[in-house]
């Protein structure tokens, strides 16, 4: 079983629902977004187009971050999910250097959203998962998967642009979509074998 995600760019309307639900699920520090939405305009007036591209960790089959990690903190967890063991991470950031997608973040100091007012109880509860001095990233919401739920960004996608499933199963929705529609992955030249696919 190899878990992956398909994002239908025709359906995505750029509502930032994925970004917000991810933030709520993981309680990441200010400025850190495991799931991000990139927006860009192309062309010249009047032929303008807005491009929306939701990005997250690609959970690569041949992940450069796992290869370079000196302490084996970055590792393949169940079903091909790439995760970080914060106990093993020494914060050297070699993985951030190696990741062609810039989807890793370093937690360099404890910050909270309301400055001197101190962290909210919610922040206290959630930020414990991200010790200071370690690198963090999307883990396909492993705790949710363990409960039989979909990742937060998939469950909360209002446009149902995201499909999550087993890429090894030819009959899964995700495999069918990739097969039937025109799909692509990001930075194929890096040879990382991303497991997040995009539908044109």
């Amino acid at each position: 079983m190899r878990l992956g995600m398909v994002i239908d760019l025709k359906r995505c309307m750029g509502c930032y629902g994925c970004q917000m639900s991810c933030k709520a699920e993981h309680g990441t520090p200010p400025g850190v977004f495991f799931a991000r939405l990139l927006k860009r305009e192309t062309g010249k007036y009047p032929d303008l187009r807005r491009i929306l591209l939701p990005v997250l960790c690609n959970h690569c089959t041949d992940a450069p971050c796992v290869k370079v990690c000196p302490t084996a903190a970055s590792h393949y967890a169940e079903h091909g999910i790439v995760d970080i063991d914060p106990d093993k991470c020494v914060g050297c950031r070699a993985c951030m250097m190696a990741c062609p997608y810039n989807n890793r973040y370093f937690h360099d100091e404890k910050r909270n959203y309301f400055g001197d007012a101190g962290p909210t109880p919610y922040e206290v509860a959630r930020t414990q998962r991200h010790p200071v001095g370690t690198v963090m990233k999307c883990n396909f919401c492993r705790p949710r998967l363990a409960e039989g739920k979909e990742p937060a960004c998939v469950a909360n996608c209002a446009a149902r642009a995201r499909t999550f499933g087993d890429l090894d199963d030819a009959n899964s929705d995700i495999s069918r979509l990739i097969r039937e529609r025109t799909s692509f992955t990001l930075h194929p030249e890096a040879g990382t074998g991303p497991n997040v696919h995009y539908l044109e």
Binding site: G31, V32, K67, V68, P70, T71, V90, G91, C92, R93, A94, M97, A98, P100, N102, Y105, F106, D108, E109, P131, V132, G133, T134
Partner: protein
Amino acid sequence: MSGFKVRMADSREKIHGYGKRLDVNLSSGEIVASEIDPDFARGFVGGMGFGCKILYDEVGPDVDPFSPANLVAIANGPLTGTNSVCGSRTEVTTKHPLTGHLGSGNTGGVWGTALKRAGFDLIVIRGSAVTPVYLRISDGTCELRDAGHLWGGNTYETSRTLEHELDPLNPSRVKVMAIGKAGENLVRFACAMNDDHHCAARNGAGAVMGSKKLKAIAVSGTGLVRAARPEQFQEAVIEARQRALACEKVRPQWGTGKYTNNVDPQGTFYCPAKNYQSEVNPGWKGTRDADTASKYLTGKMVSPCHACPIPCFTAAEVKEGEYAGVTASRAHHPGVVLDWGGKCGINSLPAIWKCKQLCQQFGLDYASAAGVVAFAMELFQREIISKKDADGLELTWGNEHAVMQLMQKIANREGFGDVLAEGSARAARIIGKGSEKYVMATKGMEMMQGIDPRSGRKGWCLGDLTSPRGGDNVKSTHGNFDRYQPDWWTDKFDMFEDVKKKAYDIPGVQPSDIDSTWTGKPSMVKWFEDLYTMANALGVCFFPVGMGPSMGPTHFSKLYSAYTGLDTTPEEIVMLGEKLFAVMKAYISREGLTRRDDAWPERFYTEPLPDGPNKGAIVSVKEMSKVLDEYYELRGWDKQSGLLTEKKLTSLGLGDIAKELGALGKLGA
């Protein structure tokens, strides 16, 4: 501010993996980006090689360190920013305001990596700005911006302000190298701090940046760093990393931390007390040793260097008492504990860490700061200066509050601090009354890392003496290779067999006693000087090279070849190291340093150790002279004057330097 120009690359082939060079003229505001000359890159590798060659070419003996004609060269090595073992280092080179000759310091962290990812590997800063400015570098672009609002702030504040100003959404992506109050006030041993906890110290670059009114360099980069032969490079990295980790297992944990457990009375690592007057530190155990430090550990690292598998930046936090809230990175690092705890006699770790934090905030070189404070304390002890001279401070040994106030005065150049801010050698000239005798400096820079040549490890000490920049052996023999470790000894060293034989195979001397004999030490020192020079040029930390001797020329040649695509052999790596070392030597020779300057402070030759297990030990002038003769001979330098020879320089491909030094009469026979 004025514009940013990109000069087109010339037709010559670019070497893979080198970023662009930036020439910043603060006087005119002109910034030019260009490709690094491939011949220059091939000949001088990067990092320290680039810095020293540029300094040699442009800053002559007539240039005052604080004049606009001085420059600051900040150079990454080719391996900086890669995932090579400890590939994180950046060299900052300038003419040192304290010593008046070579100022070359190395820093880690992630600042250099960010610079490489932004597309640059070398920044040369010339001229001097009229009003405070900072340099903003971001993905291929560079500009000078007004730093009026940053001037006067400490390094932490400057970094926080810039991070939030330049990238409010993701401040941690901005990496800042900044100077503090000490640099602004031209304290001669001020350094530039990056990533809060890292500094390229022992070069006075902070003061030089202050004289140029350059407050900070803020970098953010998102580019990728790729080797010319990625698979081969990865293989070489994994091989080197496995060795580094295996070696780490047999040497004390936490960087070099546990050594502080060995400090007197019966240990193997002695700590000079009270400005090198003695070796006995009463009450060391329970106040300053590593076991005590362990009680404060948080279990995490603070700001470790990029790609380091053996990080030494263990974090400690003081939770209660007078210094509650003080956090320390690299809490076990013996240098800080030995300098403040030994030389100045401060007997509490939280106070020592507070001193360290003050140094980081003011942007002071902690070794020189501890050196001048210890010097002042000895003058106070001998009643050469009175309480009145010291602005009412009771400079008794271990008086931590007086030390902290004095540091504040030094950084702000107030009262007595203004005298000490000149460094101990200059301060002694101002104070007079025979105080010159108590200056513990070599080549004009305060000695650090507490090993007393009267009793210390001989390999370590000889490096102290021959180091071109003076004051320490961090660029040559700062390591463990002369301490016997049965599980990791010469059979595992990556070293040429003939050198191994000369340095370690000494008839009649057991491996465990190798650190107490001078025999073979010149070969050992020469080898590690060349290797450390190469590590500094490649942008690799010296820890896996010497502290745990796991990497050597074989690994360097593999990594360098795979990364740049230029095939090199281990022999060529050692030869390049020797060449770059000769450039440093040529620089200090042109500044007028000779064999006379390869000497320790007078105390070690005239005052036997008064107490402790090595009571009565003294350095013999005759013996040292013999050792130095052998060292110069090995290096191919002139024995009489200690100067380079034309033959040696020509054989290293430095004919132009030989010609210039010859014309100036600065060559040996």
